[in-house]
């Protein structure tokens, strides 16, 4: 492939949204209320729609017969490079919203920068996606405030979720070799420059929600290198079931 770094860079973006979209999709028909169920599946649909644009572009670059579906469905676990945060389980609604919020703040600022990418296709996908992600961010921020500033029980649960998921936030800003190469070419977003703003934004909303900002300095990593938590295998088992059972099936 002519541009392996670009291909890998695109997967680094898209895999996050694919796996988070899959996680949210699990709530279809199982959300805690009709409205939140619909919201989570709507967000899932937005993310999967964005993913299609990325994988279509990746397939075009690969130019070896793979298409968006084979890239999305047929890789082994070690070849998925999503961050660990997005594969964490739904556990309860507080976890689902905490995971969403911690990702949305990053996603929004990432896409804000990606709009200026020297790569026209990535810039176009970013311009399209950011409109949708601004809704996701509003939704998850609202819920953090509502749960934090809600009852004693809801406050406790959302605080637990934030504390547990906090350990996965640092990885959002780790850079792979492909990332570094793409940043140097003006294609990729220099995520190290987003980090301070990220923690400022997250902290100020947590405070507004009467929640405590975790102080832990210990962080998990591995997803961006294909080393995942134990949850990933189960996600892929469900995601890939149809394609593995009936290879080459089409609708």
């Amino acid at each position: 492939m002519e541009n392996n770094n670009l291909y890998n860079y695109i997967l680094g973006i898209a895999d996050n949204s694919l796996i988070l979209g899959q996680r949210l999709g699990e709530l279809c028909g199982h959300g805690p209320s009709l409205e939140t169920d619909i919201a989570c599946t709507n967000i899932s649909l937005d993310l999967l729609g964005q993913v299609r644009s990325y994988y279509q572009y990746a397939a075009q670059l690969a130019d070896d017969g793979r298409n968006e579906d084979t890239i999305a469905m047929m890789r082994p676990e070690r070849e998925y490079v999503n961050v660990l945060l997005v594969e964490q389980p739904n556990t309860d609604f507080a976890y689902t919203m905490a995971r969403q919020f911690l990702f949305d703040v990053y996603h929004f600022s990432f896409l804000t920068q990606l709009q200026n990418s020297a790569d026209n296709t990535l810039a176009a996908i970013a311009k399209k996606s950011i409109k949708e992600v601004s809704y996701h961010l509003r939704f998850s921020s609202d819920w953090i405030k509502r749960l934090g500033d809600g009852t004693e029980e809801s406050n406790k649960r959302i605080q637990n979720a934030i504390n547990d998921l906090w350990t996965y936030t640092d990885e959002l800003f780790h850079q792979t070799e492909a990332d570094k190469q793409m940043i140097s070419e003006g294609v990729g977003v220099d995520t190290s420059k987003l980090k301070e703003q990220y923690y400022n934004e997250v902290s100020s909303l947590l405070k507004e929600a009467t929640l405590e900002v975790p102080e832990s300095k210990y962080f998990q990593k591995g997803g961006k290198k294909g080393i995942h938590t134990e949850h990933m295998g189960y996600i892929l088992a469900e995601l890939q079931y149809m394609q593995r059972t009936y290879p080459n099936l089409t609708w």
């Binding site: 409205e35 649909l45 937005d46 399209k128 939704f139 609202d142």
Partner: protein
Amino acid sequence: MINHAEIDSELIPILDQVADPEIPVLTILDMGVVRYARVKEKEVLIKITPTYSGCPAMDVIGDDIIKAFKEAGYMAKVELVLAPSWSTDWITERGRNALEKYGIAPPLEAEADKAALLGGQKIVKCTLCGSTNTKLVSQFGSTACKALFQCEDCHEPFDYFKCLK
């Protein structure tokens, strides 16, 4: 209408027969998703842009366009373009009226939209009785483009087409 799209006038009547599969009272021209349509000796190239990234209607719209042109004696090719990205501003006046009649409140301006969805301001008009004494039920509705509202006067539940810019 559709001033920023490049569309050959002889193609407009055909494009105008193709309805949005999820909101059948709107044609794809009313929606503003057709960005380019040029004909050369019965061969047509059409570029459409998605409303939302995950909009499942786009594939259907592509098929419906090809079918409509085939019936009119043309060969059409449809491409999906992402830039510039779709905005609710591109919905035509005729489209906005059709939406309201169909029971979907048309999108407000960005600031008003924010006030309605986040600030709890009563400004979205009930599609049944016209009252603005309405409340937001959910920021997300039956499809990605809509939010769910209910009228506090006549109790009608209705969709609001969210502003996207």
